[in-house]
């Protein structure tokens, strides 16, 4: 179900156009102006009223989520039953791509079609909602045995140094970019300095962000090494998965 309307962006301080995909009990979108993730959790008990015109181009919907009202228009060609679970926000291909990233950058040869559960994954994200979504994504499909959640950069660095000192290096770090204490790119830069000083291999980084991957960001990924990018909520999860796999094919030789 695709929703259009407006949504308040705390970063821009104004209502901005909303174009979001409703996935089960979740609504995932980014600010059209600044790219800030505006993921919303929609209560399952939310009241939804539909006023439709059969054969017409428009159906009116009004949703009442727990935090803020959203006036929405539902396009008639997008009324397929939504997936029922949070982890379905990203397609199977997306999750395979995440898994393959860790496997490939860990320089392990993984036969096509096999699945290996990552021992430990760090998720660094200031949004509790998106941490929950990412954790569900990783655990519900047995992609990771342990998910360590950090709500800002310094908390992650502390936990990461502790893990390295204990010989418990994670296999993947999923990192947001826009966070209140430290920008995710700074966190990644610090992470690489720590790894070099402690004599450990670079842990794969997956930037999962609403920030556009422009040329400076691409240069950052290149400089960091073992780092990839997925944009949050680019609409159709299947298309997102396809794009991730395509990027991995081009950059690290991953084959589906």
């Amino acid at each position: 179900m695709r929703l259009e309307g407006t949504r308040y962006c705390p970063s821009c301080g104004q209502d901005v156009p909303l174009d979001a995909e409703l996935q089960g009990a979740y609504l995932l979108t980014n600010c059209a102006l600044c790219g800030l993730g505006l993921g919303l959790k929609v209560a399952t008990s939310a009241e939804i009223e539909l006023a439709s015109r059969p054969q017409g181009a428009t159906r009116q919907a009004r949703m009442t989520p727990t935090s803020a009202p959203v006036q929405a228009r539902v396009t008639p060609d997008s009324l397929a039953p939504p997936p029922a679970t949070a982890e379905s926000m990203l397609s199977t291909q997306s999750m395979q791509a995440i898994r393959t990233l860790a496997q490939t950058t860990g320089q392990e040869v993984v036969p096509a079609g096999t699945v290996r559960q990552m021992r430990s994954v760090f998720v660094v994200e200031d949004s509790a909602f998106l941490r929950e979504v990412t954790r569900n994504l990783l655990t519900a499909r047995s992609l990771a045995k342990e998910v360590v959640e950090c709500d800002d950069g310094p908390a992650f660095i502390e936990a990461y140094v502790r893990a390295l000192a204990a010989g418990q290096k994670p296999e993947l770090v999923v990192l947001d970019v826009r966070m209140p204490e430290m920008d995710g790119r700074d966190v990644a830069c610090a992470m690489r300095a720590i790894e070099e000083a402690m004599g450990v291999k670079r842990t794969p980084i997956l930037f999962f962000s609403g920030v556009l991957c422009d040329e400076p960001f691409k240069a950052t990924l290149e400089a960091l090494g073992n780092a990839k990018y997925i944009r949050k909520s680019d609409g159709d999860p299947s298309a997102l998965g396809e794009r991730i796999v395509a990027v991995l094919e081009r950059l690290v030789g991953v084959k589906r």
């Binding site: 310094p154 660095i157 502390e158 430290m182 700074d186 830069c189 610090a190 300095a193 000083a197 402690m198």
Partner: protein, 145 residues
Amino acid sequence: MPNGPILFAHADRAFTEALSAALREQPAMPPLVSVADGAAALGEYLRAHRAGAAPRLVIADLALPRLDGRATALALRATERGLATPPAALLLYTAEAAGDELKALLSRCGRAVHLQRPTALPVAEQARRLMIAIEKLLAQLGGRA
């Protein structure tokens, strides 16, 4: 209490050399380890810690390449917590006066002070004044060798 060198993170090579020369003239001063960016400062801190001599004093400019002084300070404190090691004294040495943002950073870091760099003075004089400030700071900390 860390007992290692002074770690100095500053992108101005000429100023770094002037400070290093000023410190060499002082007896019993801890050695100065200099780096030119924030990421290198973080790495050098960790290497020194692993070698059993964590820096007793970290001096950082805010305008550092790669990882700026603010991010470096936050990452340093996080690293120290991760290592369960006492925090090094931190001196933020900047061209700017201490505004609200910098004060908030000092408060967040703890065991941190700010000193404004007198940029209008010759480099050698700037280095001399900073050296005096370092001496006073180490004396207060009981860290003078």
